[in-house]
Symmetry: C2
Subunit: 119 residues, 2 copies
Amino acid sequence: MKESQALLAFAALSQDTRLRVVRHLVRAGPKGVPAGALAEGLSISPSNLSFHLKELDRAGIIAARREARSIIYTVNYDGLRGLIRFLLEDCCAGLADINLSPPASGAPRSSARKERANA
Amino acid sequence: MKESQALLAFAALSQDTRLRVVRHLVRAGPKGVPAGALAEGLSISPSNLSFHLKELDRAGIIAARREARSIIYTVNYDGLRGLIRFLLEDCCAGLADINLSPPASGAPRSSARKERANA
DNA sequence: TCTATATTTCAAGGAATATTGAAATATGAA
DNA sequence: TTCATATTTCAATATTCCTTGAAATATAGA
């Protein structure tokens, strides 16, 4: 994932309504949710939802398919995976000092120790 | 990590200058970088850098310590870890359908298959 | 074809963010 | 204390983003 793509994705997820859309879609799974139901579920106007859906789509975080009169939105798992990988590998863990376990008390030479020592 | 905290973090990382600051600090490691050197390295004005540093700090992504006349900035590893965990657990992988390996060709019932089938 | 439904697009205004340069604060040295 | 350095704060402007409501587009059924 290129940095510019990551910027788009972060921007997409940095807005309350859009984050709620994503979580809604994640819960729904691969079968997806039609735009109308989303707007209902989140209590926002169709036009406003549409604006945010376009943003999420542009960022590669969701996908759309038409089904009769409805447009069904789903999460784009590859897109989310790419963003997580960017955070882990390209952006932030060049140091390998990041693992996902909670900061263990007996952890060896973790930078978190230094931070606490400085507080 | 609360959703509101995640929103702050995404917003913090969704801006070009700030993402560059973070990557710079990650490269520097726990010893950190003084604000002046950061401004030089990124070719932005001290005042503008300061604005963005405050934003990153507010989001819990960096930490600061004073050392004589300089203020040394470091990445806050716990903060970044928290964000990655939010993406993996709280936000997006409730489905467990996300793992970090690239979409394998023989992967079982991955939603990516459905997406390609619909393209 | 005409009508109803589902959604998007567009334009306008309002709100939040980013950039700039000047002034303020904190530290250390002469 | 006075001066120089390192950084932040502030106010003004510029830019980008969000919301709203009205009009446009696409689909399906009578």
